[in-house]
């Protein structure tokens, strides 16, 4: 009987229900969409911040002091400690391996560059570009990395060197050096380090905005040969996707309880990722490049905070609108309430009927709103970041719950008031 009356009430006056349902659906769509965007904005923007380059620096423990200005180390090759290139594949075996966007090892060799009779003292910078690394214990998986991933702002006029040794080793000359010595693409230069003398083909001119423009960039393997240090490098720059640090992240992992340690380890804080890198590369010191990491954390924190508050505001507005709508619809039906009471229905029965209606409406409207909101979030995600936000099914029950609570809260007071009045005056129209 109850269900029949419920069904009839939906069939009889669809228009009013439609409007109430529309308000519910739209209100919940706003909430779902903003929630989906707010939940994802941290991850998506973190990827954008990789344009700033590496945020972790790995150097050998027990190294001497680097003589570094703006990205180039001027130490002689027999000074200091070195790291082994063969170990680098292990970076893709750490817990947060998928967050490692790229990594680049570097080896500098002080040389004399000769070109058309002029000799210049400068540095040869050995690096990877589009280099394939084998990942151990993964069944043959490989990873391509290099300066294109850790230094995305480096630009080359001409082209980059190929790493495979063809007829002649290729190199890229820094733009400042090239301008001073009038070195052009396609010409040859001779580099001399100690006893060794090699000729290189210039295939590109490099602009970076920093000290590398005075250097000659070559494949790492060539620099290793020149320095007499096969398979070694001086420092490694790593670009990783991280979560901004909070109070918890800054604590000392040595002082955490087992549970806290697990939580810290399993969150992509930059300190946790650095710690994991140190675990697989023994004998290294891993430091956070604060200029990059802190700005990222700071700005991401602000944008995230903004999106969350905007979500809250949207939720607040839709809650009010929905409550107002459901209160209005119940108010309209005072006549029906009075009629039912006149026919003998108890207060409880009438309330139950109306509340059931509201809940049903809330579920249907909320469900539609969730679908609409998810679709909109997809559109926004694609427009802004080029990829849709993750589908979060856990949000659905929450949305339905909010819709139901709000619809009930809105209709509660008018229902109480209507239930208290005597039927006759209401039926008369007062």
């Amino acid at each position: 009987m109850f269900l029949r009356i419920l069904g009839e009430s939906f069939a009889r006056n669809p228009r009013r229900k439609l409007l109430a349902g529309a308000a519910l659906a739209l209100g919940m769509a706003v909430t779902t969409a903003t929630l989906a965007v707010a939940l994802d904005v941290g991850d998506r923007l973190a990827r954008e911040f990789r344009a700033l380059g590496a945020n972790l620096l790995v150097t050998p423990q027990g190294d001497t002091l680097p003589l570094e200005i703006g990205g180039v180390d001027y130490r002689p090759v027999d000074d200091g400690a070195f790291l082994s290139e063969a170990e680098l594949g292990k970076l893709r075996t750490i817990f947060w391996r998928l967050n490692i966007v790229g990594f680049s090892p570097f080896l500098e060799v002080p040389v004399e560059v000769a070109h058309e009779g002029h000799s210049t003292r400068t540095t040869v910078l050995g690096a990877w570009r589009g280099h394939t690394v084998a990942v151990p214990e993964s069944g043959g998986e490989t990873f391509v990395t290099g300066i294109d991933l850790t230094h995305p702002w480096w630009q080359v006029e001409g082209r980059w060197f190929g790493e495979e040794s063809t007829a002649q080793t290729e190199c890229v000359v820094g733009a400042q050096l090239a301008r001073r010595r009038t070195i052009r693409v396609g010409e040859e230069i001779t580099v001399r380090a100690g006893e060794q003398e090699r000729t290189l083909l210039v295939v590109g001119l490099l602009t970076t905005g920093d000290a590398e423009e005075e250097a000659v960039v070559v494949p790492l393997a060539f620099a290793q040969q020149l320095a007499g240090r096969p398979g070694q490098f001086r420092r490694l720059l790593v670009s990783a996707l991280t979560k901004p640090e909070d109070e918890f992240a800054r604590r000392d992992p040595g002082k955490m309880t087992a549970e806290e340690y697990d939580r810290w380890y399993c969150t992509p804080y930059i300190s946790a990722i650095g710690y994991q890198i140190k675990e697989v590369l023994p004998g290294t010191e891993v430091r956070t490049i604060r200029r990059v990491a802190e700005s990222e954390g700071h700005i991401l924190g602000r944008v995230s905070g903004l999106m969350w508050l905007v979500t809250l505001a949207a939720l607040g507005a839709s809650v009010l609108a929905i409550a107002a709508t459901s209160a209005t619809t119940v108010l309209e039906r005072r006549g029906e309430v009075a009629l039912m009471k006149a026919l003998g229905a108890g207060n409880g029965m009438v309330s139950a009927l109306f509340l059931a209606e509201q809940v049903l409406l809330a579920f249907v409207g909320g469900g539609l709103g969730y679908a609409l909101g998810t679709g909109l979030a997809h559109v926004v995600g694609r427009t802004v970041f080029g990829m849709a936000p993750e589908m979060r099914w856990g949000v659905l029950p929450m949305i339905l719950g909010i819709a139901a609570v709000v619809a009930l809260a809105g209709s509660f007071v008018p229902l109480r008031r209507a239930a208290r009045f005597a039927p006759a005056p209401i039926l008369r129209g007062e």
Partner: protein, 376 residues
Amino acid sequence: MFWRILLQLVRVSRTRLLLALAAVISGAAVSSALLNIHFDAERKLTQEFTTLGPNVVLSARASAGSENHGAAPLAEQSVLEVIAQNAGANTTRAIPFLYLVARANGRAVIVAGTTLSDAAQNLPWLQFERAPGALGERRACLVGAKAAAQLGGENGAALELAYGEKKVTCASVAKFSSGGAEDNQVLVPLGDAQELSGRAGKITLAQLRVKGPAQSVENAVARLAKALPAMEVRAIRQIAQAEGQILSRIRVLIFATVAMILALTALCVLSTMTALAMEHRHDVGLMKALGGEMNSVLKLFLSEIAALGVVGGLLGWAGGVWLSAWVGRQVFDTAIAPRAEVLPLTVALMTGVALAGAFPLRLLSRVRPAVILRGE
């Protein structure tokens, strides 16, 4: 007569109108808050990017064909004044640097001469173990963590730097860590570095930050290049390029989100107002049956609804200003300033939506009163 009926109308359906007003106010509050945030957020976020530090570098231009013995060409310190005059508003002071390789405790170390107080302020990623105190008075130096570990520098201790025959003692060390190249360096006052290396009045390069979008950075670079033709003026690509990309991405994000919420909120309010308008069906039918002209009947209800839109819009706008100020304080620690354009926009939007909600009433003009009164 018109006003009397209107007032009666308001008095009779007070509750319903209040509910509709609540819906309009909340919609208007969110709209005005979002519009304020949208107009202001980019400016606020640009401020936040100052943590990235300098984004323009000026260095001496090496003449073509000159012999390079590994030492970078030097510029005159006087260029700093020229920079200050031509950089324009919204820029930080240019920080000079003079690099040399000195020896401390028998080890080679890169010494950078600079204005220490500017460095501490404009390179915010230098994290000091102890607050460095006043950096203008004594002969202080800032020592990077790795340099300190190798050279044995302790906070507050003295450190002697030697270059060839010359020696300079820095009276008080302040250790910092940065994770970058500065960790390997010792920062000393510019005058000390110049004295030590015998290069009086010279600097290797100067860095400054141009605040604002990518276009302002380009304009500043062009201005400085024109004022200082002997120097190489460039944007620090790592910082400037990434900043431009990230800012534009955030701009699109905020715009898309605000547009989406505004559209949905407007529709939500629209459905509420339509529900309200539909409740007037009987009144419209009755008035027509009593002989009222459709136009004057409609005018009555549209005025009621328009008044609702305007009043709700105004009150909501005020609420929105408070809301956006609160959001600004929570997120940016400074309130978001309300824009003048937002008030007419909000009121117009809400009134427009309200009137659009009343549109179905026009459709009743063709229906006979009896049909309406019967309840169909």
